[in-house]
């Protein structure tokens, strides 16, 4: 079991199992969260990781810029350590960017078309 702290919900803490997605776990705990596809493709459930280590290898919604900004896709993310996260639209301040105002560099793109990230 890991402990998830919701930083922007008065630091509410929940115990979660690592095998299930954080979305399923937190919904079971009664946390009100937006979601859509539930397979990591639509970005509706995005949250921001403040601290901790996660596995979200199944997500296809985020580009590398969003990942670098800390975004995680709750419906497919598993916690590998205790984590602190911001949830809901309030955490989406860096999620959406105007693509004409701030173009992406090749390594910022989504994994299927992006250049490999520099180590």
């Amino acid at each position: 079991m890991m402990t998830i702290t919701l930083t922007n919900r008065d630091n509410a803490r929940y115990k979660v199992m690592c095998r299930r997605s954080l979305l399923d776990e937190l919904l079971d705990h009664g946390v009100d969260l937006p979601y859509g596809c539930r397979y990591g493709g639509c970005i509706t459930c995005a949250a921001k990781l403040i601290e901790g280590t996660i596995d979200q290898s199944a997500q296809v919604a985020l580009n590398n810029r969003q990942i670098d900004n800390g975004y995680i896709i709750l419906c497919v993310v598993g916690a590998k350590t205790d984590c602190s996260i911001d949830i809901g639209m309030e955490s989406h301040d860096l999620l959406y960017r105007n693509p004409f105002l701030e173009p992406l560099a090749p390594q910022d793109l989504r994994a299927d078309v992006g250049a490999p990230k520099e180590a």
């Binding site: 859509g36 596809c37 493709g41 639509c42 970005i43 509706t44 693509p99 004409f100 173009p103 078309v113």
Partner: protein, 449 residues
């Protein structure tokens, strides 16, 4: 023709129909941060009514996060000669949830109610499809373009429903080598259907990355189908002239082979037709120039998010969602369109940010025209994640609906000063409005056999 099925005997008859007294418009909370269901609004459009230009009823969907988007009728003029059919149900799909809500609008047109839901999970299990978009009825049956497979990958396919809204399976016999789906329209007298290309749901749902266009993750083709055989037959590769081809419309006149499509990112109108030697041809007939924006390093494309033809096929309307203008072209000669009207509202160029006392957040997006061609209803939201990228203020201020008066004799358009619905003032908080339909059919709902 003496008959009593739904719709009208011909486009000319449709033009003579009574004025629309109410409108159905969807409004969404998906992507706004407000955890409430999306809903179907009934709007009073009768100028003699005390509640003119107000939302008079709201039907909430049972779930949260559907992202209601486009909708369609169970029946249209394609079953005009079938008196067992009637236009009684509005199909309202959620692009994100893939749930298709069947709404009974006949029992009480002002207060529609939920009749049935086809669950997204059932559609995925039976057909392997997701992300419903365009709905057309075909006599007593219904075809829906589905933009993805059950994992949100392209090309998806077409969902086929019977008149009781049971899933018959996939409509198409083959997708051929079509990479993406989006909108479609058919012209049965020529045994042809045209379809366009957006992108895979996994690509467009999270938002728009311009660079992905260059990586071929967005469409640039129009496909013509053998409608009876249900297989794609010919592809127009539009290249740079046709980046992200969205809405497709054939002439309403069922004998015509002329069709049109708006390429959103290229901001071009593409026209196709069958020539004298029975070959399909295409050409670019309108090219909207990109505009400079003081703060943007890249010139701003118009983003033609919608096109529409008047019922008499005389006028083509389209919106430049980013620039903020709606244009009217006389297409009496479809090869040589003439700009006859233009109005501005919202948009990133700031040409007309405030209309009828309301700050317009977003730009002109979905439009619906009255059957007589005189009133064009406009809403401002495109798609929740794309709204959030281009018009972040819409999250707090919501969308709005305006009406534009159109001169059908001489051409010309004017924003009506007395019609405005501010979705920023909705009871559950600011929502965003999208597609509009009328109970009696409208300029994008009906097809004649």
């Amino acid at each position: 023709m003496e008959c009593c099925g739904p719709g009208y005997a011909s486009p000319a008859e449709a033009i003579k129909a009574p004025r629309e007294k109410i409108l159905y418009t969807i409004a969404i909370y998906t992507g706004t941060g407000i955890q409430q269901p999306d809903y179907l609004c009934t709007i009073d459009s009768d100028p003699d009514s005390a509640t003119y230009s107000e939302v008079i009823h709201r039907l909430e969907m049972p779930g949260i996060g559907d992202e209601l988007h486009h909708m369609g009728w169970n029946a249209c003029s394609s079953c005009f000669d079938d008196n067992s059919m009637s236009r009684s149900y509005l199909l309202v799909p959620g692009v994100r949830s893939s749930n298709i809500h069947i709404i009974d609008t006949a029992s009480n047109p002002r207060a529609p109610r939920l009749h049935k839901i086809i669950e997204g999970v059932e559609i995925k299990a039976k057909t392997g499809l997701s992300a419903p978009h365009t709905i057309h009825c075909l006599r007593s049956e219904i075809i829906i373009s589905m933009l993805g497979d059950s994992r949100g990958e392209a090309p998806g396919g077409y969902l086929h429903l019977d008149k009781e809204f049971n899933i018959l399976g996939r409509w198409e016999n083959s997708m051929g080598d079509i990479p993406f789906g989006y909108d479609f329209w058919y012209q049965p007298r020529h045994n042809v259907m045209a379809s366009s290309e957006w992108a895979a749901p996994n690509t467009f749902m999270p938002g728009f990355d311009l660079e992905e266009v260059g990586h071929l993750k967005y469409g640039r083709r129009i496909h013509l189908w053998d409608f009876e055989k249900r297989v794609p037959k010919q592809t127009f590769y539009l290249g740079e002239d046709g980046l992200i081809p969205l809405e497709v419309r054939f002439h309403h006149n069922p004998d015509s082979t002329h069709g049109f499509c708006g390429a959103a990112l290229s901001a071009n109108i593409i026209h196709w037709w069958k020539d004298d030697s029975d070959e399909w041809q295409w050409e670019k007939i309108i090219d909207v120039d990109n505009e400079l924006h003081p703060e943007w390093p890249i010139p701003v494309p118009g983003i033609i998010s919608v096109i529409l033809l008047s019922m008499d096929d005389k006028y083509l309307y389209f919106c430049n969602w980013l620039h903020g203008d709606i244009r009217q072209y006389d297409i009496s000669d479809p090869h040589n369109p003439k700009l006859t009207g233009q109005v501005w509202m919202g948009g990133v160029l700031n040409k007309n940010p405030k209309v009828n006392g309301v700050q317009v957040n977003g730009g002109p997006q979905m439009i619906q025209l009255s059957l007589d061609g005189k009133r064009l209803y406009v809403t401002t939201s495109l798609f929740s994640t794309w709204d959030n990228q281009f018009y972040p203020e819409i999250r707090v201020n919501g969308g709005c609906m305006l009406m534009v008066n159109c001169d059908v004799e001489n051409g010309g358009m004017q924003i009506d000063p007395n019609f405005i619905i501010d979705f920023g003032k909705e009871p559950n908080g600011p929502s965003r409005c999208h597609e509009t339909r009328y109970p009696g059919g409208d300029c994008t709902s009906d097809i004649w056999l």
